[in-house]
């Protein structure tokens, strides 16, 4: 049990990292990663929404959607949008400073494909509630890790002399390629098991 759960966690965190191996949530990955602070805060908000989605999807799959699998995509996206709305209202009320910092990126969590991907994969893999939550935490921390790493590199890039042609996105994408390559090294994990 524990070994299966830790497998789910580490393989989602490192080997199948949502951002660097599965190409999910790239909009915020490239859009928000100019500052370290916003990077990890957005990561935390995403992780929170991911975990709540995992719980909601489990409830939906167990009690509602068994009879109508064709409504999955619609049901999931509606639930995700409502969850994000609730989280947004909660943050606005209890953490107004954070709310101002995250600004436009909070509602954008809805269109972060990592969240819907999690909901769909959790369903096709048939994870139970605990496996689903562990999967969500692994995925969320993986996203956060990628955001922090990228933000810390881009903070340095701000003061670097970058050739004009690479200034827009070129260099950032090449850096992402290098990070993704480094993460491929984790694929060897667990091969002795």
């Amino acid at each position: 049990m524990i070994s299966e759960l830790s497998w789910i966690f580490f393989s989602t965190l490192l080997i199948n990292n949502f951002t660097l191996a599965m190409f999910l949530g790239l909009c915020s990955f490239f859009g928000v990663t100019t500052k370290m602070d916003t990077g990890w805060r957005l990561g935390a908000a995403n992780t929170f929404v991911l975990v709540m989605t995992a719980v909601a999807v489990w409830i939906l799959n167990t009690f509602v959607l068994a009879q109508a699998p064709y409504l999955r995509t619609i049901a999931f996206i509606v639930v995700i949008a409502s969850l994000v709305q609730i989280v947004e209202m909660a943050i606005k009320k209890f953490l107004p400073v954070l709310f101002r910092e995250l600004g436009i990126y909070l509602p954008l969590i809805t269109t972060n494909c990592a969240i819907l991907y999690l909901a769909l994969t959790q369903t096709t893999r048939g994870y139970n509630l605990i496996e689903g939550i562990v999967y969500a935490i692994g995925g969320g921390l993986g996203l956060t890790l990628a955001l922090i790493l990228m933000a810390s590199i881009r903070e340095r890039l701000d003061v670097a002399d970058v050739p004009a042609m690479a200034r827009r996105m070129g260099l950032v994408l090449i850096i992402a390629a290098c990070m993704s390559m480094a993460f491929m090294g984790f694929a060897g994990m667990g091969s002795t098991g």
Partner: protein, 224 residues
């Protein structure tokens, strides 16, 4: 909500439907929700036949391949923890967990085929595994679905020489090695796809370990 505040705070802004009633908002959402649901239910009905046909054909082809072209195939269903010839009423044949038994022209059993997969591992691999339950020898395997790295891990499905390495190996349980081997229970893994090869070995071991006792219990019970 923000639309309401906006229209009250700045009456000059001519939003076309400032101040729609809550009833109208709910009605719009309910209308589009049920319209979408209705259209999808219809599309689902229309596409169900070809989707199921393809899924059935895929399984049948895989069974034939891993058993080396049997003359006839019997199907047993897993009901609870026991094998049975009949499905409980109302159960879906496609969704049910099944064991296929292949016979040659003389009516002798050449092997059984089952679907097995690795849940939650780094490499998610779904296989059709064929083996001889008497000797434990493999008759073949076919990759049904996998989420492997294209170009490396997906060699387990594309490299035909890999499948042939498993032919006739005795699952006792199966082990992997990087070097060529003649050991009857050891298989040489693919270069550059060691992890995926090991995932295949894991699934095959799991298939034989779970299904052999089930089949033996079924036969002890007189095949009912």
């Amino acid at each position: 909500m923000s639309g309401h505040e906006h229209s009250h705070g700045a009456p000059a802004a001519p939003t076309p439907d400032a101040g729609s009633s809550t009833a109208r908002l709910l009605f719009t959402l309910a209308f589009f929700g049920s319209l979408g649901g209705g259209i999808l239910a219809y599309t689902y009905q229309q596409t169900l036949t070809p989707i199921r046909k393809f899924a059935g054909e895929k399984v049948e082809a895989a069974v034939k391949e891993v058993l080396g072209g049997p003359a006839t195939i019997d199907t047993l269903f897993l009901v609870g923890d026991k094998l049975s010839q009949e499905l409980p009423a109302g159960a879906d044949v496609l969704e049910a967990t099944k064991l296929f038994i292949g016979f040659n022209e003389a009516g002798e059993r050449i092997g059984v085929a089952v679907e097995e997969w690795t849940p939650g591992f780094a490499a998610e691999v779904r296989l059709m595994v064929g083996f001889n339950p008497t000797t434990g020898a493999l008759t073949g395997f076919k990759v049904l679905a996998q989420t492997e790295t294209p170009g490396l891990g997906d060699k387990i499905a594309k490299d035909t020489s890999f499948a042939s390495r498993f032919m006739g190996k005795i699952v006792n349980p199966l082990k992997g090695t990087k070097n060529p081997t003649t050991d009857p229970s050891t298989v040489q893994t693919l270069t550059g796809a060691t992890i995926s090869s090991k995932a295949v070995i894991k699934v095959i071991n799991k298939a034989v370990e779970t299904w052999k006792p089930r089949l033996e219990a079924y036969e002890k019970g007189g095949g009912k």
